[in-house]
C-alpha cells in the first residue's frame, strides 16, 4: 500500500514536471529591422514547435513570449522589465542593434536573469561590457572580420581603402581589420577611409572618393540599403572592374538577394549559402523550414532557430530553468546547429557558431556564394589573455 502511494505520488510529481513551462521572454526590433527579423521569428517558431512536439526540454514545454522593443535602448529596457515582472519569464532573449543589446545585457546583469543575445554583433557585449548572465550566439564583428583576413592577405594587395557605416559596428570592424591585416601582412597601407552615416550613404561621391585614392583593394563593412547603393554606383563607375573587394556580411541572403543581377562578382564576403550546404544537419533544418513556411531560410532564420534550441539544451543540462543553474549549464554547453557543432565558451559566453566565407557570383540573375567554406567560430578568437584583460567581470 505504501509503495503504491509512493508510486502515485511520484507519477503525480512527474506529471507536474511535464506540465512545467519554460518561458522565454524574447524582445526584438521587429518594426525597425523587419527584413532580418521576420525570418528570425519564423526560425524561432519552428524550433519551438519541434521541441514541444518532441516532448519539450527536460520535460518542460517551451513557451515563447515575443515583444517589439521599439528599437531604442530605453524602450527595450522597459519591455524587458515587463517581461521579467509581468510575464515572469525564465530568461530573456533577442535584440538586434548593438546599443539595445548592450542596454538589455546590462539590465540582465542588474536583475540577475539570463540573457541570450541572439543578434547583436558588438564585441563589447561579451568583452568590455560582458557580464555573468549574458550569452551571445552570432559570430561577433571581430570574429567575422578575422574570418576574412586570410583571403585579404592572399590577395597580396598593398594599398587598401576602407568604407564602413559610421557607427560602432563599422568602426570596430575597421579597427579590427586594420590591426589584423597589418599583423598578417606587414607593410600594408590604408590610403582612404570613408564613413558615411548608416543608411544615408551618398554612394556616388563615396565611390568616386575611393576611386580617387587609387587603392589596390577595398574593405567594406556596408550592408542593406547602403550596400545596394554602393554596388550600383561602383558598377556604373567601373570601380570594381580592377579593384577586388572584401565585404563583411554581404553574402547573407538578407543583403545579397536584393542585389539580384547587379551582384558584383568575385567579392570575398561572409554569409550563408543556404541552397548549397548539404550537411545532414543543415538539410534537416532547411527541409523543415521550407515545409513549415514555404520559403527558404535566411541567416536570421538560422539564428532564431538555433537560439531557441540553445535555450532548450541549457534547460536540459540544468534540468530546470533556475537562473544560476542555467548560467552554469551554458558555460561549456556543446550542441548541434544547422551550421554544425558549437560550444558556448565559458571564458566569455560567446558561442563558437561560425559563418561561411566565399566569393560572390551571379547565377540566373541572382547573387550566390561560390568557393565557400565554413569557418568555425572557435578558430577566429583572440588569445585567452587578451579576452581576460578585456573582460573585467
Amino acid at each position: 500500500m505504501r509503495t503504491l502511494l509512493l508510486a502515485v505520488l511520484l507519477s503525480l510529481t512527474g506529471l507536474a514536471c511535464a506540465q512545467g513551462v519554460v518561458k522565454i521572454g524574447e524582445l526584438n526590433s521587429y518594426k525597425v529591422f523587419p527584413a532580418f527579423l521576420e525570418p528570425y521569428r519564423k526560425g524561432m517558431e519552428l524550433a519551438v514547435e519541434e521541441i514541444n512536439a518532441a516532448g519539450g526540454a527536460a520535460g518542460r514545454r517551451i513557451e515563447l513570449v515575443t515583444r517589439d522593443d521599439g528599437g531604442t535602448p530605453g524602450d527595450a529596457v522597459r519591455v524587458a522589465e515587463e517581461l521579467i515582472a509581468r510575464e515572469k519569464v525564465n530568461l530573456l532573449m533577442g535584440t538586434f542593434a548593438s546599443n539595445v543589446g548592450l542596454a538589455v545585457a546590462n539590465l540582465a546583469g542588474e536583475r540577475k536573469i539570463v540573457f541570450l543575445a541572439s543578434e547583436p554583433l558588438t564585441d563589447k557585449i561579451v568583452w568590455q561590457d560582458g557580464n555573468r548572465y549574458t550569452f551571445r550566439l552570432r559570430p561577433s564583428t571581430y570574429m567575422q572580420t578575422a574570418m576574412l583576413i586570410p583571403e585579404a592577405v592572399r590577395l597580396k594587395k598593398k594599398r587598401w581603402a576602407i568604407v564602413y557605416p559610421n557607427y560602432e559596428y563599422g568602426q570596430s570592424a575597421t579597427a579590427s581589420f586594420k590591426k589584423l591585416l597589418a599583423q598578417a601582412q606587414p607593410g600594408v597601407e590604408f590610403v582612404a577611409e570613408q564613413a558615411p552615416p548608416l543608411g544615408k550613404i551618398d554612394a556616388g561621391a563615396v565611390a568616386q572618393a575611393l576611386a580617387d585614392a587609387r587603392p589596390d583593394a577595398i574593405f567594406s563593412a556596408l550592408f542593406a540599403a547602403d550596400l545596394q547603393k554602393f554596388v550600383r554606383e561602383g558598377n556604373t563607375r567601373g570601380l570594381f572592374k580592377t579593384t577586388p573587394v572584401v565585404n563583411l556580411l554581404a553574402g547573407e541572403p538578407e543583403y545579397l538577394d536584393p542585389l539580384k543581377d547587379e551582384t558584383p562578382e568575385g567579392w570575398w564576403v561572409t554569409g550563408y549559402p543556404w541552397s548549397e550546404i548539404q550537411t545532414p544537419e543543415h538539410r534537416k533544418f532547411r527541409d523543415a523550414y521550407e515545409e513549415r513556411w514555404h520559403d527558404y531560410p535566411r541567416e536570421g532564420s538560422v539564428v532564431g532557430y538555433t537560439a531557441v534550441y540553445a535555450v532548450a539544451q541549457a534547460v536540459k543540462k540544468a534540468n530546470g530553468a533556475d537562473t544560476e543553474k542555467l548560467v552554469a549549464a551554458f558555460a561549456g554547453l556543446k550542441m548541434q546547429t544547422p551550421f554544425g557543432p558549437i560550444e558556448w565558451r565559458a571564458i566569455d559566453h560567446q558561442s563558437t557558431m561560425g559563418a561561411y566565407v566565399g566569393r560572390l557570383a551571379r547565377r540566373d540573375g541572382k547573387g550566390v556564394m561560390v568557393d565557400w567554406y565554413y569557418v568555425d567560430g572557435a578558430k577566429v578568437q583572440p588569445s585567452e589573455q587578451e579576452i581576460r584583460a578585456l573582460r573585467k567581470q
Binding site: D68, R86, R237, G238, P258
Partner: protein, 585 residues
C-alpha cells in the same frame, strides 16, 4: 558634380514643401511620406510598365494621394492652431509608413536602372553616370517650369496672391478650397516625382520618409520659407558641401553638416538665405486665451491623483510601477517643453537635447568622475540649463518656424557629438552600468523617488506660470511690441524660459538614465523631440496640466499598443488624427 545630382532631387521635394507652406501655412511632416510613396509606386509600376512610364504615373498617383489627404484631413484643420496641423501631418506619417509596410513588405526595393541611361560618360577623365546627368537637368527644368507657372499663368497669380495674403485673396472671390487642394496636389506631385526619380539611385525603404522630410525642412528653412529660388540655392549649397566633405576624406562630418550650415545661416540671417520676414498678422494665429488659475475643484482633483500615486506601490505589482516611472519622467519632460511652447509661445523641435544632455552629464559624472548617483543627479539640471542657455541665446532672436528649426539644428549637432565622440560618450553604443545605489534600487524605491521629484518639479513649473516672470513671458508671447513698450525685456524673458525648460528637461533626463541603467544617443535624437511635441500637443498647448496627461496617454498607448497591435504605428496615427479632428471641429 556628384553633389549636383543629389541637390537636384532634394530641390524637387523641398520645392513642393515650400509651395504648400507658402499657400496653406501648413508645415507638412508627411511630405517625406509622399516621397516614399512615390518611390514604392515607381518600383512597383516599373516592373510591369518599364521605368520611363512608371516615373510620371507614380508622380501622378502621389498627387492624387496628396489631394485626398488635403480633402479628407487638412481641409478640416485650416482654422486650427498651427501646431495641431503639424500633429495631424505627423499622424499621416505613421499611417503611411505602416501602409507601405503592409503593401510592399519590409525589404528594401531597389528600382531598375533607367533604360537608355544605365551607363556612364567620361567627364574630366572620370566616369559619371548618365542618369545623374538627367537628374542634374531635371531639377533646374522643374525650377524653370514652376517659375513660369507661378509668374505667367492665371493660376500662378492666384497662388501668389494666396501666398501674400490668403484672407484678402478669399475676399476677392478666389475659391480658396480648390486652390489649396490644387497646390497640395502639385506639391505632392513634386514629392512623388522626386521619389520616383530617385529609385535608380536609392532603394525604396521604410525609413526614407523622415530622413527626406528632415532634409527638405532644412533646405526650405535655409532658403527662406516660401522662396523657390532660396530652396534651389539651399539645395545646391548642402549638396555641394556634403560632396566636398566626402571628397576630402571628412565623411564623418556628413552626419550633421546640414544642421551646422543651417544653424550658421539662421544665426546670421534669421529669415534664411532668400526669405522675407513673415507678416506677423499672417504668421500668428490669434492670441490664445490667457491661462486662468486652476479652479479649486481642479486643485483637489490633482491632489487626489497625487495621493493615489503615493498609495499605489502598496497595491500594485512591479510592472505598473516601471511604466509609471516612465510616465512620470516623460510628464516632466513634456511639461518643461510645454512651458516653452505654451506660456513662452516658442515651439521647440529639439527639446530632447536638454533631456539627453542632462542624462549624459549625470551618467558621465557617475561612471567617469565616480560621483555618487544623487550628487550627479543634482548636477544634471545645471548641464541641461547651461545647454539651453547657450542654444536659447541664439534661438530667441528668431521666431516661429525659424526658431523651431534652429532648436532642431542645435539638437542635431548635440546628437552628432554624442554619436561621434566615442571616447567620452561611448559613441553609438552609449554608456551602460549607471544604476542607482541600493537604497534607491528596485522599482518601488525608484518609483517613489521619481514621483517625489516629478511632482515637485511639475508644481514648480505650473506655479511659475503665475509668477511675475510667467506673466511677463505670456505678455511677450501675446504681443511682443506692447510687452516691450511696457518695459519688459522680451528676449531676456524668453531666454530665461529656455534656461528653465532646459533645466527641468535635464532633471527628467537624469531620472530616465538611472531608471534604465544605460544611455545612448537616441535620447537626444529627433525622434524623442517629436515624441515630446506629440505629448504636448495631445494634451493641449493652451492648458496648464495638459502636457502631463498627454505624456501619460502617449507612453501608455505606446507600451500597450506595441504589445497588443501589430500595426501599432498606424493605430497611434489614426488615434491622433481622430483626436485632432475632434478638437478642431
Amino acid at each position: 558634380m556628384n553633389g549636383l545630382a543629389g541637390a537636384s532631387s532634394l530641390f524637387l521635394v523641398a520645392a513642393g514643401l515650400s509651395l504648400i507652406f507658402g499657400v496653406s501655412r501648413i508645415v507638412n511632416f508627411a511630405h517625406g511620406s509622399l516621397y516614399m510613396l512615390g518611390m514604392y509606386l515607381a518600383v512597383a509600376l516599373s516592373g510591369a510598365l518599364g521605368f520611363w512610364a512608371a516615373l510620371p504615373l507614380a508622380a501622378l498617383a502621389v498627387a492624387l494621394c496628396g489631394a485626398a489627404m488635403e480633402i479628407l484631413v487638412l481641409r478640416r484643420l485650416y482654422g486650427a492652431p498651427e501646431l495641431l496641423q503639424l500633429l495631424a501631418t505627423f499622424a499621416l506619417v505613421l499611417i503611411v509608413r505602416d501602409f507601405a509596410l503592409w503593401a510592399w513588405g519590409p525589404e528594401d526595393l531597389l528600382g531598375p536602372r533607367a533604360p537608355g541611361l544605365g551607363g556612364a560618360v567620361e567627364i574630366a577623365g572620370r566616369p559619371f553616370p548618365q542618369y545623374d546627368l538627367f537628374l542634374l537637368l531635371l531639377g533646374p527644368a522643374v525650377f524653370a517650369g514652376l517659375t513660369l507657372l507661378l509668374k505667367r499663368t492665371r493660376w500662378g497669380i492666384l497662388v501668389r496672391a494666396a501666398t501674400e495674403d490668403r484672407v484678402m485673396a478669399g475676399a476677392l472671390g478666389i475659391n480658396e478650397r480648390w486652390l489649396f487642394t490644387a497646390v497640395f496636389a502639385l506639391g505632392a506631385l513634386l514629392a512623388g516625382l522626386g521619389g520616383a526619380s530617385a529609385i535608380p539611385r536609392e532603394p525604396a525603404n521604410l525609413g526614407i520618409d523622415l530622413a527626406v522630410v528632415a532634409d527638405a525642412f532644412v533646405v526650405v528653412v535655409l532658403g527662406g520659407l516660401g522662396s523657390l529660388p532660396g530652396a534651389f540655392a539651399a539645395a545646391l549649397l548642402i549638396g555641394e558641401v556634403k560632396a566636398f566633405c566626402i571628397a576630402f576624406g571628412l565623411s564623418q562630418a556628413t552626419l550633421a553638416i546640414e544642421f551646422v550650415i543651417m544653424a550658421a545661416v539662421l544665426v546670421a540671417r534669421p529669415w534664411g538665405l532668400l526669405g522675407r520676414p513673415l507678416d506677423p498678422g499672417v504668421a500668428q494665429a490669434k492670441a490664445a486665451p490667457p491661462f486662468s488659475l486652476p479652479a479649486r475643484a481642479t486643485r483637489v482633483a490633482l491632489a487626489a491623483v497625487l495621493v493615489v500615486l503615493l498609495l499605489l506601490p502598496a497595491a500594485s505589482g512591479p510592472y505598473p510601477l516601471v511604466l509609471l516611472t516612465d510616465i512620470l519622467v516623460f510628464a516632466l519632460f513634456a511639461a518643461s517643453l510645454h512651458f516653452l511652447m505654451g506660456p513662452g509661445g516658442m515651439a521647440s523641435f529639439g527639446h530632447a537635447a536638454y533631456f539627453g544632455i542632462g542624462a549624459y552629464a549625470a551618467v558621465l559624472l557617475v561612471l567617469r568622475a565616480h560621483w555618487p548617483v544623487v550628487a550627479a543627479w543634482l548636477a544634471a539640471p545645471f548641464f541641461g540649463a547651461a545647454a539651453a542657455a547657450l542654444f536659447g541665446w541664439f534661438c530667441v532672436r528668431l521666431s516661429g518656424i525659424y526658431l523651431a528649426m534652429l532648436t532642431l539644428a542645435f539638437a542635431q549637432i548635440a546628437w552628432s557629438i554624442a554619436f561621434q565622440w566615442d571616447r567620452v560618450t561611448g559613441g553609438s553604443n552609449g554608456l551602460v552600468g549607471a544604476w542607482p545605489p541600493a537604497w534607491l534600487a528596485g522599482e518601488r524605491a525608484y518609483y517613489g523617488f521619481t514621483l517625489a521629484v516629478s511632482a515637485a518639479c511639475l508644481a514648480l513649473l505650473w506655479r511659475a506660470v503665475y509668477t511675475p516672470f510667467g506673466y511677463a513671458l505670456r505678455a511677450a508671447r501675446d504681443s511682443a511690441l506692447r510687452a516691450a513698450a511696457a518695459g519688459i525685456d522680451v528676449r531676456a524673458q524668453q531666454w530665461l524660459a529656455f534656461v528653465a525648460a532646459g533645466g527641468f528637461a535635464g532633471i527628467a533626463g537624469a531620472l530616465y538614465a538611472f531608471s534604465k541603467g544605460s544611455i545612448s544617443p537616441e535620447l537626444l535624437a529627433v525622434g524623442r523631440s517629436v515624441d515630446g511635441l506629440v505629448m504636448v500637443l495631445l494634451g493641449g498647448v493652451h492648458t496648464l496640466t495638459g502636457a502631463a496627461w498627454g505624456a501619460a496617454l502617449f507612453t501608455w498607448l505606446q507600451d500597450t499598443a506595441a504589445r497588443e497591435i501589430g500595426y501599432w504605428r498606424a493605430a497611434l496615427g489614426a488615434a491622433i488624427l481622430a483626436l485632432v479632428i475632434a478638437r478642431a471641429s
